[in-house]
């Protein structure tokens, strides 16, 4: 455990969950590593518990809030995240949505794109009053009213690259980026306004931080693509959105972590395909890492012992915020999710026992 030399010490357990998350996002000392879910920890059992099921819990603010609150009240995480899906904005933009059922995620029917060129990219005048946007904003207000400053409330605004997949279709958008990079950048620049508008509206509603999923994933685009199309754009988003931004990109991303760390984003929510130590070595203290507990193989298919092992691997690598790598599978067992904060608390207690003089940890160390 490393004491934050130049900052006031915090007594373990004295920080609220909200203070802990925000401090870690700012790179400040924390009393223990926060457990954070920048995407989603909703499960079908939690839906039953609070009678808030998909798809309604994605479209009804009261149900959305009830389900989001379980992250804190039932699982012991330090954050709540009501925006479970990645399609709220796309619905408001007019994309065709398959809302699915209780046990599956809604998706955009990307085979039916709504836009073809940059000229089509416009934010509808009623975008912020669309029901699928309003329910997110109302849900954040409800959570703020219920929890005050107790727990970090994280919102979500989709980045322009992901919006590009949704509105242009994955293949047409990627082909456009190859054939006409300039036109693609113009599209991204215009879609950025949608990201900012929804983000700002969530800030006004009470969000403490925003997840920025922008799926320039390793399986589809290279690190150089991130540098050429998104690095500067993400830097602009940092300038435009005045609360901590948590970039989320799935898959193997070590080839772009250095570029990501240059943006000024508060945090990067990273995938288990990237080893914790290897990732920390790249980003250093330039950006906080969050993650990277594996979803399909560990949280979904294995038991608490394996979950604990992955949590420890992150803690020992100095990862500042620990949590699942992405939105967890809806069938994940609750005991596996509860194991994440339990392991974090146990590890810190052990660290404290072995060095009783230290009371504060530099975020994640």
């Amino acid at each position: 455990m490393v004491v934050g030399d130049d900052q006031a010490a915090a007594v373990p357990g004295e920080m609220t969950s909200r203070e802990r998350v925000l401090a870690a996002l700012a790179g400040s000392p924390v009393d223990r590593t926060p457990v954070c879910n920048p995407t989603s920890v909703a499960t079908v059992e939690l839906m039953d518990l609070v009678d808030a099921h998909f798809p309604d819990a994605n479209r009804d603010a009261e149900k959305m809030s009830r389900l989001a609150a379980t992250s804190y009240t039932e699982l012991g995480f330090d954050s709540v995240m009501p925006v479970f899906t990645i399609i709220q904005e796309s619905s408001a933009l007019g994309c065709d949505i398959q809302w699915e059922q209780k046990d599956n995620w809604p998706t955009v029917r990307m085979s039916r794109p709504i836009w073809k060129t940059a000229q089509d990219v416009t934010m509808p005048s009623d975008f912020l009053t669309h029901p699928d946007i309003v329910c997110v904003l109302d849900s954040i207000r409800l959570l703020r009213r219920e929890f005050g400053d107790e727990v970090a409330i994280i919102g979500k605004t989709m980045g322009p690259w992901t919006l590009g997949y949704h509105v242009f279709g994955v293949e047409p958008f990627l082909l456009m980026s190859l054939d006409d990079p300039g036109h693609t950048k113009l599209c991204l620049d215009r879609m950025k306004e949608i990201t900012i508008a929804f983000g700002q509206a969530q800030i006004d509603a009470g969000a403490d931080a925003l997840t920025l999923p922008d799926h320039a994933t390793g399986d589809l685009v290279s690190g150089e693509y991130y540098r050429d199309f998104l690095r500067d754009l993400h830097t602009e988003l940092v300038d435009e959105i005045p609360i901590p931004l948590i970039l989320h990109i799935c898959g193997r991303t070590v080839d772009r972590m250095d570029y990501i760390a240059e943006t000024g984003l508060a945090a990067f929510h990273y995938d288990s395909k990237n080893a914790a130590a290897e990732s920390m070595e790249i980003v250093g203290d330039r950006i906080a890492l969050i993650g990277n507990i594996n979803n399909p193989e560990t949280l979904f298919a294995r038991g608490p012992e394996q979950v604990a092992a992955e949590v420890l691997s992150n803690l020992e690598a100095g990862v500042p915020l620990v949590g699942p790598e992405c939105a967890i599978p809806l069938q994940t067992a609750l005991e596996n999710l509860k194991e994440i904060p339990l392991t974090v608390k146990r590890w810190h207690a052990e660290q404290l026992d072995s060095s009783p003089g230290d009371v504060t940890t530099e975020a994640g160390e």
Partner: protein
Amino acid sequence: MGLTRDLGRRIELKSMDPHCHDISLGLYRQQTVEGSSYLVHTYSAHEDAPSRVSEIVRGLVEVAGMVSLAEQPGLVAFPCGGRHEKALRRSFLEVCKLPGSEIGGVLPLVRPDKKAECELTIESLGAGSYRVTAPAAAELGPRRCQAVSRGFAKLCEMDSDESQPCVVRFGCGMEHDALMGALFFRAQNVRSAMQEDELAASRGTLAAPGSQDGNP
């Protein structure tokens, strides 16, 4: 503060029960000094949920040959005290597929087999061993008996012996006739059972937008 309980290790989940308002039903392993027992539980507060849990428990008792334990409602165990979890998980999912009115009764150890064009029979040899047999006149019978035995070995984690390819054995050395009957039709078509498992595992996992197929 929380409402969730420590129910033990969840070993199986029916995420949406079509016969009871799409509630989720979990099967949890609880470990006691006497061995492993299993709890059927739902977090749903729907008024029909308790009776549905009772139906599933009854199914595990009547169809899979488990016994109800007095300690807690919804708690069952195998008479041998063993786990047989792969077979139990499969039995649980099969029972959950049925409406309450169709749950119950030990399934027969004789079943028609389309591929063998005859009836196959499971014969208990004692001490947890079973042989799959076909009428001597059935030309395709021996091959199918071996295939079904392999199916049981896979579905129920039973031991098999290369020198007796139609014989499988429970490691506990105890008889489980009901369980054999319950999973007979699955052992006849293991591939469909595996496909069902794969489908269930992929459902509910959020893929990155670039990996979504964009359903037409």
